[in-house]
């Protein structure tokens, strides 16, 4: 049974909590060689949404004084604002519910948005979500008016609990953050897609090359969120453009309804009318 929704057009926007966006590529803003390349990469990606974070502003006492260096966070924010993109603040690095909730509250005030990419990290080597803490934090934040984008696994039961907690978007990982491994569990991701046919689903994390993103879109995912694959490419701007095209190609292929794979060959050239020359 094919539970995937193949209707629509390439131009259809994706909708997150009632907000429609044209691009199905969500781009992270970390680890770029320079702010200028970050800006160019965002433009080349055509992303409408970029992820941002909150960190301690270091050296403020000197930096804020006349003649001091500009505050790093302020110049970064100016760059993002000038690009005119929407921001999705994250709670990266938070390991407890309290940390994640407090960080989300601070992000809401700072960025003036109810959106939050909720991360509650449970394991250092894989940066795997602590799904128990994630569900609890999602419930607290949803009740407080947040629109939560949870970074989760492809586990169906966790997904159901996140939806019950108020999440109207789910963001399962493809593979561990920054690993570039692609879609580690295609079966699990396919199951999740089939289980929630109408819910916006975003593959978040682990994507390494554009073909991974295209594969996620061919599965019926609504969008892909990635960072390292672009930021750490030899040419981030070119790679951003490559991902944009791959995501469009995957989306177009989904709508086009691909053929079924089969085990045995089937001649594509007609057999009828073939000359007998032997």
């Amino acid at each position: 049974m094919d539970a995937i929704n193949r209707t629509g057009t390439l131009a259809d926007p994706v909708e997150f909590y009632g907000t429609k966006v044209g691009s199905r590529l969500l781009l992270g803003t970390a680890q770029y060689p320079s702010p200028a390349i970050l800006g160019e990469a965002i433009r080349a990606s055509s992303a409408d949404i970029v992820t941002v974070s909150l960190r301690r502003e270091s050296g403020a006492a000197k930096a804020g004084q006349p003649g001091g260096a500009p505050l790093a966070g302020q110049s970064f924010w100016q760059l993002i604002r000038d690009l005119g993109v929407k921001v999705l603040p994250n709670t990266a690095g938070c390991k407890t519910v309290k940390e994640a909730v407090t960080t989300a509250q601070m992000a809401r005030e700072l960025f003036d948005t109810p959106w939050v990419k909720l991360e509650v990290i449970g394991e250092d080597d894989t940066l795997q979500p602590d799904v128990f803490g994630l569900v609890e934090a999602a419930r607290i934040l949803s009740r407080d008016g947040f629109q939560v984008f949870p970074y989760t696994t492809e586990d169906l039961v966790v997904a159901e609990k996140l939806v019950a907690a108020g999440c109207e978007v789910l963001m399962p990982w493809g593979a561990p953050i920054g690993s570039g491994r692609g879609l580690n569990n295609p079966y699990g991701l396919r199951s999740l897609r089939a289980h929630f046919p109408g819910l916006p689903l975003v593959v978040d994390a682990g994507v390494g090359v554009p073909s991974h993103a295209a594969a996620a879109m061919e599965m019926g995912y609504d969008a892909v969120l990635l960072n390292t694959a672009v930021a750490k490419a030899g040419d981030p701007v070119r790679m951003a453009r490559a991902f944009a095209r791959a995501i469009e190609a995957g989306r177009e292929a989904l709508i086009a309804d691909p053929m079924e794979a089969r085990d045995m060959a089937a001649p594509s050239t007609p057999v009828m009318g073939r000359a007998v020359l032997g």
Partner: protein
């Protein structure tokens, strides 16, 4: 008095969180604040006293994935 600002010990004469931000040179910078693990909204910083040993977090927009 001694307080902890962003994980580092600091001496301050600030009476409130708003005073502390001014003392540290943040001026009108776009930052979010927490006192002893609890968020303090911008509008409340002037009414939030600082005491010896307090832990203050001053966070700004940063790159993120």
């Amino acid at each position: 008095m001694k307080i902890i600002v962003n994980g580092e010990t600091a001496d301050t004469r600030a009476g409130t969180l708003a005073d502390l931000l001014g003392e540290l040179g943040f001026g009108e910078a776009m930052v979010a604040t927490a006192l002893n693990g609890t968020m303090v909204r911008k509008a409340k910083r002037g009414d939030t006293p600082i005491a010896d040993g307090d832990r203050v977090e001053i966070l700004a927009p940063m790159q993120g994935g």
